[in-house]
């Protein structure tokens, strides 16, 4: 296909130059965030300076030495990862059902799933708050301020996303492959794990990355539905980053620190995209 034509030598340099420029543009705001995190407030006044002369560590030590920060970070990692795993698994099952089975009204169900992501979130916080604090309570336990509560809630906007991204990918897998497997005596579970899963891997990896990102970055629900124990790092960020906040240094330092687990996760999952890419892009 057009993207896979062999490179001419001159164009290689051109595209390399393009990517370097594009990367600089992409990195610019993040680098500026890092610059702000490395300076004291007084150093920031005056003409903008991109060079970090003396690293103002107080911004980082203030955040890192805060015991709640570590807990917030851990909560975020647990919530985002559990949510990504749960959503990707459930979405694979659901998409496979929608793609391969004759279910009454399935196109309507498919469309309905996505409407769950469309609602402006503000007003839904009130019923969710009641649901978490009053409906789902067993004795002294309630979903409020628990990680499991957030994991389940994030499914509401992540499942529709995952189902919609995976639909095209599952549909594109030739039906003959899994029908053949069924003829060979595989049950549904074996077809899913043995045939569909390997073929859909790049799509699943991308879906997992993005659901993880959505869960990792979510602020409004976490802020309202957690209090002390299950608070995530974005709500911790908001303690510095209020609309009226000028605690720029600590805010930027915290934001920079939250990038680290995200990068680790990205690195782990991207290998699967790469694997998927080489699978898809059979060299001529």
């Amino acid at each position: 296909m057009m993207g896979r034509s062999p490179l001419k030598p001159g164009r290689g340099w051109l595209s390399l130059a393009f990517w370097i420029v594009a990367s600089l543009i992409t990195l610019f705001p993040i680098y500026w965030m890092f610059v702000v995190s490395a300076k004291s407030r007084v150093e920031l006044f005056g003409a903008p300076n991109f060079i970090i002369r003396s690293f103002f560590v107080e911004n980082y030590t203030a955040t890192l030495s805060n015991p709640t920060f570590q807990r917030y970070m851990l909560n975020s990692i647990i919530v985002a990862t559990s949510n990504a795993l749960l959503v990707t698994t459930l979405a694979l099952l659901a998409t496979y059902a929608l793609s391969r089975y004759r279910l009454v009204g399935k196109e309507n169900i498919f469309f309905w799933t996505i409407t769950n992501r469309m609602a402006p979130p503000a007003v839904f916080l009130l019923p969710l708050f009641l649901l978490f604090t009053q409906t789902f309570t067993i004795g002294s336990f309630s979903l409020y301020d628990t990680r499991i509560g957030l994991v389940l809630l994030y499914c509401v906007f992540n499942l529709p996303f995952a189902i919609w991204t995976l639909r095209g990918i599952i549909d594109a897998i030739p039906r003959e492959l899994d029908e053949q497997a069924m003829v060979d005596g595989c049950n549904t579970w074996q077809v899913l794990t043995g045939v569909i899963f390997p073929l859909a891997k790049p799509g699943l990896a991308v879906t997992a990355i993005l659901t993880w990102v959505f869960a990792w970055n979510e602020y409004l629900f976490a802020a309202t539905l957690t209090s002390v124990n299950a608070r995530t790092i974005t709500t911790g960020l908001a303690e510095f980053v209020t609309v009226t906040g000028t605690n720029w240094g600590q805010m930027a330092a915290t934001a920079t620190l939250t990038l680290v687990p995200a990068l680790v996760f990205l690195g782990l999952v991207q290998q699967h995209i790469v694997a998927g890419l080489t699978f898809g892009a059979v060299k001529e």
């Binding site: 965030m33 459930l90 391969r100 996505i114 409407t115 503000a122 805010m251 790469v274």
Partner: protein, 293 residues
Amino acid sequence: MRSQTTGWLLLAPTLVILLVFGLGPFIYVLVVGFTNWNSFAADPTAHFAGVQNFRRLVFDDPFLHSLWLTFGFTFFAVLSEIVLGYFLAQLLMRDLPFKGFFRTIHTLPLMVAPIAVGATWRLLTVPGLGPLPYYLDRWLGIDLRIGTFADQAFIATVIMDVWHWTPLVTLTLLAAISSLPKEPFEQAQIDGANRAQVFWYVTLPLLKPAILATVFIRVMDALRTVDEVWMLTGGGPAAATRYVGLHIWRVVFPKTDYGYGAAMSLLTLYVTIVLCWLMYVALVARRELPRSE
């Protein structure tokens, strides 16, 4: 033959979660939308108000303006993201030294929480501190003050959104492109199609479901943007970037006008659903529906 029961079983966990945490709250909001309820009104309890909220909405200029503005924002942002994202995804399919490295860099903006994205862009654009006003003034003589000039603020929110979300488009399209079958392309080559023809008649139709799903996700996320814009401009100057998500947020939170806020949400949701349904029916379902019945 595949059993329907198995199909429903596979679908069940998804449906249960969505019904409890999606439909449940929706019904609550639906009921509240027909009441007059403000925690700090002279009478703070909720009263059934019929369609009064919706009647008010139709003449509510700030709300309608906000809705219109949101469509503009969504149109410019999503269009740029799709074009740019597709372009970058295609480029990433080519041979390139350090490809993984560039791809990782290009994914980085996604990893920054929206609330931090807004804060970062504010640090970039605040006069007296941020580099953008400083260098734009020095090099191009542009007076960048997004707190004062409505157009600048609007453009700034669009650029911020494009910076933040283009990687999502690139990643999903990358996944889609990489799982395309290669036979149609070989066939096209044999038939002597040129690049434009291959793009229009082979690549685009095959990618349509993926592009559409991406457009959908981006459209609905852009329509309910709150955190980033709230951090960057607070909806200002005046109402220039007071997008509907933010507008509703201000009505429901600080103003505690739950009944009216719920009505706004329902109307916005309804408009969004209609918009997406039209796109969906026009582009995808027409081909798919017969097969499924």
